[in-house]
C-alpha cells in the first residue's frame, strides 16, 4: 500500500442551528487529509471525527459529487466554490491546499438564499425564476421527423453554452448586489437562440426578470463577479443578450 502524506488543516466553519439562529463560526482541526480527498470528502472526514466524539456533524448539501448537480453552496476562503476556475466544491481537491492552511467555509449569503442549517441554503428562488418562463410550451404529440426544424450549428452551440448552467447559485452568491442576472440570462439566452423559444420570448424575459426581483435578488451593475465564480464559466455576454431581449420585448 502506498503511503500518503497527510495534511492537518484548521477549518473555520459557519454553524447555524436553523433559519432563525444567529449562527457563528466554529473552529475544527481536519487531520489525516490527503491531497486526493475532494473538499467534500475532507468535510466527511471531519464529520466522522465529530460523530465519534458525540458532536453534531457539519451539515452541508451535496448530491452528485461529480460537478453537475450544483448543490454544494459553499463559499471557501471568500470565493464561491473555492476559486478554482470552472470547479464545483466536490471537484475541488485538497491538493490545492497546503498542510497547516486555515480555511473559512461559509454558506451562500444573499437575502434570497436563506440559510436552512450550517452550510445549507434554500435555493428554491432559482426554481421560482425558471417557473416564470424558463421553458418552452410545446405539443407532445408524435415525434417530429429528424431535421424538420433546422438549427444552425452556431446557434445550437450558443444555446448549449448557456444551457451549461447548473443553477448552483454561485453567481448571486458572488455578486456584490446579490443579483441573479447571470442565471436568469443564461436561460433567456438559451431559449432565445432556438426556434422553439421564439413564441414565448417576450413574455419570458419580462416575467423572469420581474420574478428575479420579486424573489429579493438585487440589480445587475456589471461587476462580472458572477462569471468569475461560475463553475460552468457562463459568459456575461448572455446578460447583454438578456438586455437586448428585454428591449425587444418592449415593442411586442
Amino acid at each position: 500500500m502506498s503511503e500518503h502524506k497527510t495534511m492537518t488543516l484548521t477549518l473555520n466553519v459557519w454553524r447555524q442551528k436553523g433559519p432563525n439562529d444567529p449562527g457563528k463560526f466554529e473552529t475544527y482541526t481536519a487531520k489525516g487529509i490527503t491531497e486526493h480527498h475532494s473538499f467534500l470528502e475532507m468535510i466527511d472526514v471531519v464529520n466522522e471525527d465529530l460523530i465519534k466524539s458525540g458532536k453534531e456533524p457539519i451539515v452541508f448539501d451535496h448530491d452528485c459529487r461529480e460537478g453537475i448537480c450544483g448543490m454544494c453552496s459553499q463559499v471557501i476562503n471568500g470565493v464561491p466554490h473555492g476559486g478554482q476556475e470552472r470547479t464545483t466544491v466536490c471537484q475541488l481537491h485538497m491538493r490545492k491546499f497546503k498542510d497547516g492552511d486555515t480555511i473559512f467555509i461559509e454558506p451562500w449569503r444573499a437575502t434570497a438564499f436563506p440559510i436552512i442549517k450550517d452550510l445549507v441554503v434554500d435555493r428554491s428562488a432559482y426554481d421560482t425564476i425558471i417557473q416564470a418562463g424558463g421553458y418552452t410550451s410545446c405539443h407532445t404529440g408524435g415525434v417530429p421527423d429528424g431535421n424538420t426544424l433546422p438549427i444552425p450549428k452556431q446557434d445550437a452551440d450558443y444555446a448549449m453554452d448557456a444551457a451549461e448552467c447548473i443553477g448552483c447559485g454561485a453567481c448571486a452568491a458572488a455578486c456584490p448586489n446579490s443579483s441573479a442576472m447571470l442565471f436568469t440570462s443564461a436561460k433567456v439566452a438559451q431559449l432565445a437562440a432556438l426556434p422553439q423559444g421564439q413564441v414565448e420570448a417576450a413574455a419570458r424575459v419580462k416575467n423572469m426578470v420581474e420574478t428575479m426581483q420579486a424573489c429579493g435578488f438585487g440589480n445587475c451593475s456589471n461587476h462580472y463577479e458572477c462569471q468569475a465564480a461560475c463553475p460552468k464559466g457562463i459568459d456575461v455576454k448572455f446578460i447583454a443578450r438578456l438586455n437586448r431581449e428585454y428591449l425587444k420585448a418592449q415593442f411586442k
Binding site: N77, T111, S178, K206, G218, H223, V236, R244
Partner: protein
C-alpha cells in the same frame, strides 16, 4: 409602467442617461479647450453659447432631466442592492469587481456635489465673488464677458485647482466602470468587441481626466496667464 420599475428597464435608463452625460462631458471638454487659444478663444466660445437663449434652455432642461433620472435610479437601485445583499461574509475575495465598480454610488454623488459647486462658481458666481461676480460686468475689448480672466484667476488659487482636479479623478473612476457598463447594458456587443469594452472605457476616461486636469494645471504652473 413596468419598464420603470424593472431591473433591466431601469438599467437601460441609467445607461441612456449615462451616455447623454458622457457626450456632454466630451463636448464640454472640447468647448473648454478653447481656453488654450487664450482669451479670444474661450470668450468667443462663451458668447456663441449664450447668443442662443432658447437652445441654451432646451439643453439645460434635457440635461437636468437626464441627471435627475440618473441620480434617482442610481440611489434607488443601490438601496435595493444593499437590501438584497446581506454583506455578511466573514471573508470575501472579489475576482473581477474593481474599486471603481464598487464605488459608483459614491463617486457619482461626489460628482453631483462638484457639479453644484461648479455651477455656483462659474455660472451663478456665488463662490469667490471677488473673482467671478464682476465678470458679467467685466467685458473684454470686444465687449464679451471675460470668461478667460475668471477661469485664470480662479485656477491660480491652489484650493480651487485641487477641488477641480479631485472631482476629475472621481469622474475618471465613475467613467472607467460606466463606459464599459453602458455598452454591456445596451447589449451593443459581440464576441469580438466585448473583451475590448474595459480597455475602451479606461482609455476614454483616462483621456478625459488628462484633458480636464490640464486646464487648472497649465494655469497654476503659470504656463497660461492673463
Amino acid at each position: 409602467m413596468e419598464f420603470f420599475k424593472n431591473a433591466v428597464g431601469r438599467k437601460i435608463l441609467m445607461s441612456i442617461t449615462g451616455q447623454l452625460l458622457i457626450i456632454f462631458v466630451i463636448v464640454h471638454f472640447i468647448g473648454n479647450s478653447s481656453i488654450f487659444l487664450g482669451a479670444d478663444g474661450i470668450n468667443a466660445y462663451a458668447k456663441h453659447l449664450h447668443d442662443l437663449p432658447p437652445l441654451v434652455w432646451i439643453f439645460r432642461l434635457v440635461m437636468l432631466t437626464g441627471v435627475a433620472i440618473h441620480i434617482i435610479y442610481g440611489i434607488q437601485v443601490t438601496l435595493e442592492n444593499n437590501k438584497a445583499n446581506t454583506k455578511s461574509y466573514a471573508v470575501q475575495k472579489h475576482l473581477k469587481a474593481t474599486f471603481a465598480s464598487k464605488t459608483m454610488i459614491w463617486t457619482g454623488l461626489l460628482i453631483a456635489l462638484f457639479v453644484l459647486y461648479h455651477l455656483a462658481h462659474f455660472t451663478l458666481h456665488i463662490t469667490n465673488p471677488e473673482i467671478s461676480a464682476g465678470v458679467a460686468a467685466n467685458f473684454d475689448a470686444l465687449q464679451r464677458p471675460d470668461v478667460f480672466k475668471m477661469v485664470v484667476l480662479s485656477f491660480q488659487k491652489g484650493l480651487i485647482a485641487v477641488i477641480y482636479a479631485a472631482a476629475m479623478v472621481m469622474l475618471f473612476l465613475h467613467l472607467s466602470h460606466g463606459i464599459q457598463s453602458f455598452l454591456q447594458t445596451m447589449g451593443w456587443n459581440n464576441d469580438k468587441t466585448r473583451p475590448c469594452f474595459g480597455a475602451v472605457g479606461k482609455v476614454v476616461s483616462g483621456l478625459l481626466l488628462v484633458g480636464y486636469v490640464s486646464i487648472p494645471l497649465v494655469i497654476i504652473t503659470g504656463l497660461l496667464k492673463l
